[in-house]
């Protein structure tokens, strides 16, 4: 038999070994030789703290009570790890990029660095984990009690309590020593993780050894074991469907939400690639742990019927005289318990210190982190006190609960409690619409339902929840019975609690999230979390403020330690291209610093501390939004400017056009004036010359006198005609002319025009060809003015037609309501270049037969035709000069 002293000796030696390993690992890490300390194997082994003493001892007991159901507790986590691509990968990436220190920090960080959520999750975790720690203490003391001591065959209760107390104190000591050695920016504990990895190996080897002994030592191989299972009472147990599925879900949820699991899986993770290895290696570990549970249970039932099945792993080898194996098994159980307690205590103390102690401490120091004492010491002290407090709580729970319950029951209660974090966590990771209020409502309601339906009833008949309430519901309302809410009485209590708490939790989370509106920082963090795999950048949180680099350095030194803080600042300064220790407080720098600090004191606290120094804890996301608004306004303004300048351009163009027109008009006016004076001057010159001759003394013949006075007379007439024309044109152009509208016949008008022109025939008579029959058209027009146009056209033909036998053809045609009269002669016509100018004033193409006229005829004709509602234009391509007069037949009068 193993004596008590030997047991204590072995136990202390084992603990000493752990200390040495942890210490060596710390030393190695300090030298920077991380190497295998951070290998996928160590990562996977550290995950094995999932398998606690509850697994080591409890699984066999569970199998005895419920058969194969025990395996659900390991199937859930296996599925989570096998499905790492969905979730764990994202979780680890977020944990690394946001410097998450705990699950409370994750939730707080995701929902806008809300400290409220941090506190809620912390409280939940402490309440959920304390019974679990008590469970570990209980299993260690029970395992001690199995070995009969030297003094007395049976341990009394006092001894058990003492053992638990010693174990608790020893664990607190170890945890404080290695868990709070340094306030690492990465919150990684090389010593602890290495020690845990060693313990993971010990417990696996121990359980496998017992299993192998049972299968090949007691039974005669696998076939025999199968036969024994079939023959044992375990075989009669049937699957409870609801529990089977619920427990797989619950264990998967707890695996993600347990503070200690989050600590080793996310916080202590050194390399994302380790997750890939753990995705199959950790299920393999659980597989091996579970493999021999049922054989051990079956053999235990056979060998030790009636003994506590929770201790078969230990008692079976002992009963069969395998003391060495029993000792190994004891160490395995001890390892399971201690490793869980250590990591849980570290995780909880981080949460308590970051989300409860530090905010309170900071708020009592109104002066801010710079003025007060050494923050670093405060953080470490609060961590240490938290560890001690957590273990004290566990011990007290153990002490007062009496340690009599079946281990598995506490485990499931604890699992259900921490699983309440799941909706807020998954929602925060995959749904950008999840808000802080939604998470808070979900957590609080789910937690309340859990406490009411599972946690409080677990105490049995107590003063908090008397038996009457359990049986009949509060105030006799049966619908509110804790284990049969809303009349759902058919479910197993655990399934019932999981169902209602998760339903109400998730429902409240979604409903409130949908109804509430997130803060800017929440939305920013939400986007960062949900899209972390697309772009691993950090939240821009700080606009350039009044933060003094020196103040920040002083504060950082107190949190990170002088050397590390200086190195960080120097590195940042160098990155900015500056020498010395003080970089510019750019937003990037402040952000980096905040992240570094968050690694030590949590995101919310770091944010608050940096906020105190950078002036105003109000996050500048609002500023960013304002900047964005400003930018939008500027863009708006510039587009307005653009529009205005386009308008100005158009106006300038119009002005330029107007100016060009005015200039052209001015040139025209000058040309007109010079033309006029020229036209007036020529006849005046001849009149003056001949009148001077007449006035001269001296003999002059009668004939000469008559000739000279005829010339003067002709020139005077020509002058008068010119003035008449000018006056006429001026009247027509100013629109002051009054037309004498009446019924007329086109033939008559043409007749009149021809009669008028015969008198001014030149030397060669112009032959005019008409189609009189077509000319019989009734018109409403001013016949005098129309005749004037015709006279002008016929006279022009007479004057300018250069054919040997000049001939004018007058063709009349009707185009709908328009009468077209063409005057076509057989001369050379008008060259193309001149066609556009012939209707201008004073335009005369040739000066050859100066039969009077100042070149105003066509200009006047055009004006008249415009007044009559028609037009006169040059008609090219007719073999000679051709003018077309078109005028409306009758409606012109109505239009007047």
């Amino acid at each position: 038999m193993i004596g008590f002293n030997i047991l204590v000796l072995v136990c202390l030696s084992y603990v000493a070994l752990l200390f040495v390993v942890a210490f060596a690992a710390e030393k190695r890490a300090e030298r920077g030789e991380v190497g295998w300390l951070r290998s996928p194997v160590v990562y996977t082994l550290s995950l094995s703290i999932y398998a606690t003493a509850w697994t080591f001892y409890g699984a066999v007991g569970y199998a005895v009570r419920s058969g194969l159901e025990f395996v659900t507790i390991y199937l859930g986590p296996s599925l989570v790890m096998i499905g790492w691509w969905w979730l764990v990968r994202k979780l680890v990436r977020i944990g690394r990029s946001q410097r998450i220190t705990s699950i409370a920090d994750l939730i707080s960080s995701r929902y806008g660095k809300s400290n409220l959520l941090g506190v809620i999750v912390t409280v939940l975790a402490v309440i959920g984990t304390t019974p679990y720690i008590a469970l570990q203490l209980q299993s260690v003391t029970l395992s001690f009690s199995v070995f009969p001591s030297d003094a007395s065959a049976v341990w009394n209760v006092q001894d058990l309590d003492d053992t638990a107390l010693y174990v608790a104190i020893g664990l607190a000591f170890f945890t404080i020593l290695f868990g709070t050695r340094n306030l690492d920016a990465n919150e990684r504990h090389h010593g602890v993780v290495t020690a845990i990895a060693l313990e993971a190996v010990v417990k696996l080897v121990a359980l496998l050894a017992v299993g192998v002994f049972v299968v090949w030592g007691v039974a005669s191989g696998p076939a025999d074991i199968v036969a024994r299972i079939e023959a044992s009472p375990i075989s009669d147990l049937t699957f409870a469907g609801g529990r089977w599925a619920t427990l797989i879900f619950l264990s998967a949820a707890a695996f993600l939400c347990l503070p200690r699991m989050f600590q080793v899986m996310v916080v202590e993770n050194a390399d994302e690639r380790h997750v890939a290895v753990a995705s199959w290696a950790f299920p393999l570990y659980l597989f091996l742990i579970s493999l021999f549970v049922i054989p051990i249970a079956v053999v235990g039932l056979k060998v030790l019927p009636g003994a506590n099945p929770d201790l078969y792993v230990l008692t079976v080898p002992l009963a069969l005289g395998q003391n060495g194996l029993a000792m190994l098994s004891f160490l395995g159980g001890f390892s399971s318990a201690t490793s869980m307690v250590i990591v849980a205590a570290i995780a909880l103390s981080t949460m308590v210190s970051n989300h409860i102690v530090m905010p309170i401490w900071l708020s009592t120091r109104s002066g801010g982190a710079t003025v007060s004492g050494d923050v670093r010491k405060v953080v470490l002290l609060s961590r240490r006190l938290s560890i001690a407090a957590v273990l004290a709580l566990g011990y007290l729970y153990f002490y007062f609960s009496g340690g009599g319950e079946a281990l598995a029951a506490i485990g499931l209660i604890s699992f259900t409690g921490v699983a309440q974090v799941l909706p807020a966590m998954l929602g925060g990771l995959f749904w950008r619409g999840a808000t802080r209020n939604g998470a808070a409502f979900g957590l609080v309601l789910g937690f309340a339902v859990w406490a009411y339906t599972l946690f409080l009833p677990s105490f049995g008949d107590s003063f908090i929840l008397p038996a009457s309430v359990l049986a009949e519901g509060p105030w006799g309302i049966s619908w509110l019975r804790p284990q049969a809410l809303f009349g759902v009485a058919s479910l197993d209590p655990v399934v019932h609690a999981v169902f209602w708490s998760m339903l109400i939790n998730t429902g409240a989370f979604f409903a409130v999230s949908l109804l509430s509106f997130p803060q800017p920082l929440e939305r920013l963090q939400g986007a960062q979390f949900v899209n972390v795999l697309e772009h691993s950048r950090n939240a821009p949180g700080w606009a350039q403020g009044a933060a003094e680099a020196e103040d920040l350095l002083i504060m950082s030194q107190r949190i990170l330690g002088a050397g590390e803080a200086q190195a960080l600042f120097q590195g940042q300064a160098r990155a900015q291209g500056k020498a010395g220790y003080l970089p510019d407080t750019t937003p990037e720098f402040v952000e980096t610093l905040e992240r570094e600090l968050a690694g030590s004191v949590g995101a919310a606290t770091a944010h608050a501390m940096v906020g105190q120094i950078t002036g105003g804890a109000a996050v500048s996301v609002e500023d960013l939004m304002a900047v964005a608004d400003e930018t939008a306004q500027m863009m708006e303004y510039s587009s307005q400017l653009e529009a205005k300048s386009a308008e100005l351009g158009r106006t300038a163009r119009q002005l330029r056009d107007a100016n060009d027109k005015l200039t052209a008009l001015s040139i025209q006016k000058d040309a007109f004036l010079s033309q006029i004076s020229h036209e007036l001057r020529t006849p005046m010159t001849s009149i003056r010359a001949f009148s001077e001759i007449l006035m001269a003394d001296g003999p002059m013949s009668e004939a000469d006198q008559a000739r000279f006075s005829t010339i003067i007379h002709d020139e005077a007439i020509r002058l008068t005609r010119l003035l008449d024309d000018l006056l006429d044109l001026s009247v027509l152009e100013n629109g002051q002319v009054s037309l004498n509208w009446q019924d007329a016949n086109l033939a008559d008008v043409l007749e009149r025009a021809m009669a008028a022109t015969t008198s001014m025939q030149g030397k060669t008579p112009l032959k005019i060809r008409r189609e009189v029959a077509r000319e019989r058209l009734d018109l409403v027009t001013d016949p005098d003015r129309l005749a004037q146009v015709f006279i002008n056209l016929i006279a022009n033909a007479g004057k300018y037609c250069d054919a040997e036998k000049p001939e004018l053809r007058i063709a009349v045609a009707r185009r709908g309501n328009t009468v077209v009269i063409d005057f076509i002669d057989n001369g050379a016509g008008i060259p193309k270049a001149s066609q556009s100018v012939i209707f201008e004033k004073f335009s005369r193409l040739t000066d050859q037969s100066r039969a009077g006229g100042a070149g105003l005829g066509l200009a006047i004709s055009r004006e008249i035709m415009a007044k009559l509602g028609g037009s006169v234009s040059y008609l090219p391509g007719q073999g000679g000069a051709a003018f077309r007069v078109s005028l409306p037949r009758g409606q012109a009068r109505a239009a007047e």
């Binding site: 790890m81 096998i82 049937t238 697309e534």
Partner: protein, 109 residues
């Protein structure tokens, strides 16, 4: 803003990698379904569900999942770091951002 249009078909290697990711996502679902199969056994007529058979079934599925997960994890690690996940979203956002400016201008005029 002419961005070359994304090819309709992926290169063979990235195609393989996408399917590997799909497989990695599918595996836990398959596992969960297989683990739930014992619920359907129930006590049949004349015989009850056997714990030994159930244990062998569960552990066989479990082992199969572990082997598959190991193969997938190895393959995924070999094909390199995460890439391509954000491509689709990035392109979409870029197009959207580029589109807004001309629209604004048009409205202003």
């Amino acid at each position: 803003m002419s961005r070359p249009p994304a090819p309709v078909f992926l290169e063979r290697r990235s195609y393989r990698r996408r399917r590997l990711m799909d497989a990695a996502r599918l595996l836990p679902v398959v596992g969960a379904l297989l683990f739930l199969v014992p619920l359907l056994w129930g006590p049949g007529p004349g015989e009850s569900a056997s714990t030994a058979e159930g244990m062998i079934y569960i552990f066989a599925v479990w082992a199969g999942l572990i082997v598959l997960a190991a193969v997938l994890a190895r393959r995924l690690a070999d094909t390199g770091a995460d890439t391509g996940a954000g491509n689709g979203a990035g392109t979409g956002a870029g197009n959207g951002a580029n589109k807004t400016l001309p629209e604004r201008r048009e409205r202003a005029e």
